[in-house]
Symmetry: C2
Subunit: 285 residues, 2 copies
């Protein structure tokens, strides 16, 4: 693991690392870690941010308006990339919604992708270990996760498929990918069992199955003017229905429709403060 | 003038316009305008942000962490591009520090550039008129200006060369361009009279000449770890000396060295709040 760059921000530092990843089949991958200013002995809980299609590890820290709030709340942040890069798989660079920049936070099982496209394992298992090895002032026992669009899908599914996060939040997430064009395309390509196998990466299906789980804490914002909402990519109503079916109340699954907002980082940055404070309340508890 | 896009942000809207510009020799240019949420009859003062080399009208609103603070302070913001585009001048696209993305906020006089490269006139005269024509809830009699690097040079020189702004601020500005490699290259290319003619676009020279001017209100932040500072591009000590020579005190010209910070938008976003609040205090006075 090597340090690529380090920039002072809001009294702390955001540092970019490059690592060779076992989960990603030996490819190198980059991620950013933001650590607020700290005093001797202080340790911060960590909040992951998963970016959306075409983005990378820099998009969140550059455009999300997150760091000022994380610094004020005493939260460290970790920003992984959105996919492996440079796997040299045929077709990897041809579409914006499959391959590079479009890992969908799953572990691929289709032969073509299975060696490298394993962002689920990378983010949930390998990345925390890599960060832990850096010996930064972090408390890796307190983790939460958030994301945008494809990364919102990632945040919700990683939260629901594991027990390692205290809370999850999402901006304009793909809530029901087995029913949306992006998700169907991704699952059909990445998974040997196609869309059916994709059920395990579908936040709405996972939420129904989480019935009775005690620590469910989800905050979702989406914009009423989001073109991808109108195109049927996001399907927040499916998640809402799943919450109802599983008996989760609004304190456990809070889905908010924001009038006038779209899919852009202008929308994300507007509600960044709400989301980070939401996680802070769970991480400091 | 046409509307290119409009995004809701922090309760208000940031809208991108495309206009045919007389100052820029008939080229089209784009700019963003952020207007906070408002009630009937309310009017906001305006703050311009001039971006640096290689940037455009989107860099500030995407990466500067400005809009949240502007919204809270009740300040509208205007983000022009950093140069004309598409003038089809030979060599225009060859360097990152001359031509496209590098207008230096001056009016070129060298034959090759004189028709199109007139960002000084565009920003000080034409842009306020274009914005005024939009009939937004703005009070164009209350204007301030800020910028980064080349745009910091722009903010300081436009403030000092005109009387139309109430305050100016800059992140890591080029303070003494007649003595810095970027400035010498720009003036040698754009101005018939070269570096000597460039004296009129040199903030340190202009500040000395502003001796006795009553409304001088400048805030400058630069990072001690800024590589361009180390390379002699910024020269804040020249501006400091000029302020001293002209008898301006720290309330009038406040130059702050920020330990550990560099030239990036991480630095800018950290001090964005200070700058916008500084302008708000002058704009609301």
């Amino acid at each position: 693991m090597t340090e690529v760059s380090s920039n002072k921000a809001f009294g702390g530092y955001i540092t970019k690392y490059k690592a060779t990843s076992e989960s990603l089949g030996g490819l190198t991958t980059q991620f950013n870690v933001f650590v607020p200013a700290h005093t001797e002995g202080q340790k911060f809980p960590v909040l992951y941010y998963l970016a959306g299609l075409t983005c990378n590890e820099d998009t969140g820290p550059w455009k999300g308006n997150f760091l000022s709030i994380a610094a004020a709340e005493g939260i460290a942040m970790i920003f992984p990339d959105t996919s492996p890069r440079g796997a040299e798989i045929v077709g990897e660079e041809d579409s914006w919604d499959i391959g590079t920049g479009a890992g969908f936070y799953l572990d691929a099982t289709a032969d073509k992708w299975a060696k490298h496209y394993r962002m689920f394992s990378f983010v949930t298992k390998e990345l925390p270990k890599l960060v832990n090895d850096l010996q930064l002032p972090l408390d890796m026992n307190r983790q939460s996760i958030m994301g945008h669009s494809m990364g919102g899908h990632g945040a919700l599914t990683l939260f629901l498929a594991t027990l390692q996060y205290r809370s999850a939040s999402a901006f304009a997430p793909v809530c029901n990918p087995t029913k949306s064009p992006w998700g169907i395309k991704a699952f059909s390509n990445y998974l040997k069992g196609g869309v059916e196998e994709g059920e395990k990466y579908d936040a709405s299906r996972l939420l129904e199955k989480a019935k009775g789980r005690s620590n469910v804490a989800l905050l979702i914002d989406y914009g009423a003017q989001d073109q991808f909402l109108k195109d049927g990519q996001l399907l927040p109503e499916a998640l809402s229905q799943a919450a109802q079916n599983a008996g989760f109340n609004e304190n456990q699954v809070n889905i908010r429709k924001q009038e006038g907002y779209d899919h852009s980082y202008y929308f994300i940055s507007t509600f960044a403060s709400d989301h980070i404070k939401y996680h802070a309340s769970h991480l400091r508890a």
